[in-house]
Amino acid sequence: MSVRLILLLSHALFALGVYGVLTRRHAIGLLLSIELILNAAALNFVLFSRAFGHVEAQAFALFIIALAACEAVVGLAIVIGLARHAHTVFADQVDLLKG
């Protein structure tokens, strides 16, 4: 497989993620979309590691996986809190920060 194809794949993944973030109203959907964006980035790191022979980049991919796990924990906790206090899990219904 060529680098170009895999790069295309990661971009597609990223674009899908961004699209999901922008359009999903459900908080869990948002989390999943962010997960997609992170994985796109991780894919990129692995790809460039292979292409240019850098080992460090693979380490970053591992970092991202760990980060994604943390993010999922924190994100799900927020969602549960949100569901408990605001009785909703739809992001656009929570506008406490509206000026």
């Binding site: 973030v21 922008l22 359009t23 656009d92 929570v94 506008d95 509206k98 000026g99």
Partner: protein, 632 residues
């Protein structure tokens, strides 16, 4: 003998202390007798001193007062011939007058108070006479002025009496300020205030300095002895009880000025003696003319006193201190007697206007008799007391004075006789007045009789018949022996002329002046009858401006100085108001302005904050895209 020296002033002082503290608990005559007893005891002590003093001994006692070390500020009493004579006058006349007052003041609501003041006066006067030192003399000098004040305004319910007392005190205090300046100068320049050291100062001090100091001291004498121009208080002082007028304002206190000049004569230079002579002569003549025109019997006597004091001052101006003191002694007797006689008349008739008196000779024979003796003595008729003392002065004027002086003094003698006989004739002779007089009680007549004896005979002590013991006592060595006949004739002539004037003009109202001179005579008479308008001039030139200055300065104080203070306060407050305004309008607005600017900006940015996460994300994405495009 020194204890006697101390007792002389201390006894009356003790009487004063007793009377002022528990006088009201004493029955009225007792209070009077306390004072009389104290004075009589003083007189006795004075007599006890006579023997050593006549031997020429000088007794002294001193103690430290204002400084333990500096002899300038010590107090001391001393007695020599001069002060002994004054002591005798004060205690003798004082005892008689205190006796007389027991009768005169009977029934007065403040009876003990009167005798307390009288005793205090005698104590201070004796202290003044005994002082061997300017400091004590000045202290007593002020104290007798105080007593004079208290006694003049003794009947203080009368506004005139209250005003007269104040006038007396302030007028004499002007003279006293001069005396004080003289004392200060002397203490500083001469280094001593002892009287017995004054003669030594003639060598050490410069002539000009001596003249200045002696004139300042003389100013004190002018005030106390009521010489021109400070004579105005004495006639007003007649508002006081008559015994007071007799004791203080005729016999003793007013003579203190004469005593002072006699005592300090070594300081007087020929120039200052000229001034003394001029002032004395002017006073003698001017007061004599005024006395001729007064119609209040006490005022006639007051001006007569001023005039006689002027005569003594004239003698002092000639340098004849002994003669002045001699006249002072005889004058004390006959003038006190005249006042007591006048007091007797007032006591009997409650009237002192000449126009409403007359013919009292029958009702009051004793009073009339002693009054006549005093009048004759004062006129200088041979051989009564007044003759000897006055003739001695005339003689000195003839020998030591300028040629016209004798004439001037003879003119004064004419006036003296004229006014005193005008008084006598209109009081005791002529048609009886509506007031039915009665003879005064024995307690008043007896002292008058004793004084009449003095008025008749005291002069003999200075006469050639007894070889002038009095003048020797005063330290005079060169004395005209025998009686100078031309002077005797002249003075008798003057007395006769005065008598004729009193009879024809004073009583019969004849008009001796030729018609052409009458307008002038009337004008002169008006002037004299108005006391030469001196009081009015003083009111206009001194008192008025003084009060105006006081009021002006008071306004200045209130408006300008206090105004400046208040102004500073108000300016401070105005500044504060202005600062407050600046604070509120500028400083505070800057702070608040910053805050509101931020708030405005925040309000502008509010619409961005929708609170919808998707919109934020969209912005982020778009921004990232844009930034990445830009950075490419």
């Amino acid at each position: 003998m020194t204890p006697a020296l101390l007792w002389i002033p201390l006894l009356p002082l003790a009487a004063f202390a007793l009377l002022i503290t528990c006088g009201r608990r004493l029955a009225p005559p007792v209070a009077g007798w306390v004072a009389v007893a104290a004075l009589a005891a003083s007189a006795g002590a004075t007599l006890a001193l006579a023997e050593p003093v006549l031997r020429g001994q000088r007794l002294a006692v001193r103690w430290a007062w204002l400084s333990a070390g500096d002899p300038r500020w010590a107090l001391g009493l001393a007695v020599d011939g001069l002060s002994w004579l004054m002591l005798a006058v004060v205690t003798g006349v004082g005892t008689m007058i205190a006796c007389y007052s027991i009768g005169y003041m009977r029934g007065d609501p403040r009876y003990p108070r009167f005798f307390a003041y009288l005793a205090l006066f005698c104590a201070s006067m004796l202290g003044l006479v005994l002082a061997d030192h300017f400091l004590l003399l000045y202290a007593c000098w002020e104290l007798v002025g105080l007593c004079s004040y208290l006694l003049i305004s003794f009947w203080f319910e009368k506004p005139a009496a209250a005003a007269a007392g104040r006038k007396a005190f302030i007028t004499t205090r002007i003279g006293d300020a001069g005396l004080l300046a003289g004392i200060l100068w002397l203490a500083w320049a001469g280094g001593t205030l002892q009287f017995d050291a004054l003669a030594g100062l003639r060598e050490t001090l410069s002539h000009g300095l001596l003249t200045a100091i002696s004139l300042l001291i003389f100013l004190g004498a002018v005030g106390k002895s009521a010489q021109v121009p400070l004579h105005v208080w004495l006639p007003d002082a007649m508002e006081g009880p008559t015994p007071v007028s007799a004791l203080i304002h005729a016999a003793t206190m007013v003579a203190a000025g004469i005593y002072l000049v006699a005592r300090t004569l070594p300081l007087f230079t020929p120039e200052s003696l000229q001034v003394v002579l001029a002032v004395g002569l002017l006073t003698h003549l001017a007061a004599g003319t005024v006395a001729l025109t007064m119609t209040d019997i006490k005022r006639v006597l007051a001006y007569s006193t001023i005039s006689q004091l002027g005569l003594m001052m004239t003698a002092l101006g000639l340098g004849a201190a002994a003669l002045a003191m001699f006249h002072l002694t005889t004058h004390a007797c006959f003038k006190a007697l005249l006042f007591l006689g006048a007091g007797s008349v007032i006591h009997a008739t409650h009237e002192q206007e000449l126009g409403r008196l007359g013919g009292l000779r029958r009702a009051m024979p004793w009073t009339a008799a002693v009054f006549l003796i005093a009048a004759v003595s004062m006129s200088g008729v041979f051989p009564l007391s007044g003759f000897w003392s006055k003739d001695a002065i005339l003689l000195a004027a003839q020998h030591d004075g300028p040629p016209w002086l004798l004439g001037a003094l003879l003119a004064g003698a004419v006036m003296t006789t004229a006014y005193v006989f005008r008084l006598y004739l209109r009081c005791f002779h002529g048609a009886p007045a509506p007031h039915a007089g009665h003879e005064s009680p024995l307690i008043m007549v007896l002292p008058m009789a004793v004084l009449a004896l003095g008025a008749a005979a005291v002069g003999l002590a200075g006469s050639p018949w007894l070889a002038h013991p009095l003048l020797h006592l005063l330290g005079l060595t060169q004395i005209h022996a025998g009686i100078d006949v031309p002077i005797l004739l002249w003075s008798t002539l003057a007395a006769a002329a005065g008598l004729w004037l009193a009879w024809s003009v004073g009583v019969r109202r004849a008009r001796p002046l030729p018609a052409a001179l009458r307008p002038l005579g009337t004008r002169l008479y008006t002037w004299a009858a108005n006391k030469y308008y001196v009081d009015e001039w003083y009111q206009r030139l001194i008192i008025g401006p003084y009060l105006a200055a006081a009021r002006g300065l008071s306004r200045f104080d209130l408006r300008v100085i206090d105004g400046a203070v208040d102004g500073a306060g108000l300016a401070g407050r105005a500044l504060a108001v202005w600062k407050e305004r600046f604070d509120r309008l500028v400083v505070d607005r800057l702070v608040n302005g910053t805050a509101s600017a931020v708030r405005l900006a925040g309000a502008g940015l509010r619409w961005v904050q929708t609170g919808i996460v998707h919109q934020y994300l969209l912005v982020v994405v778009v921004a990232v895209v844009v930034v990445s495009l830009v950075l490419k």
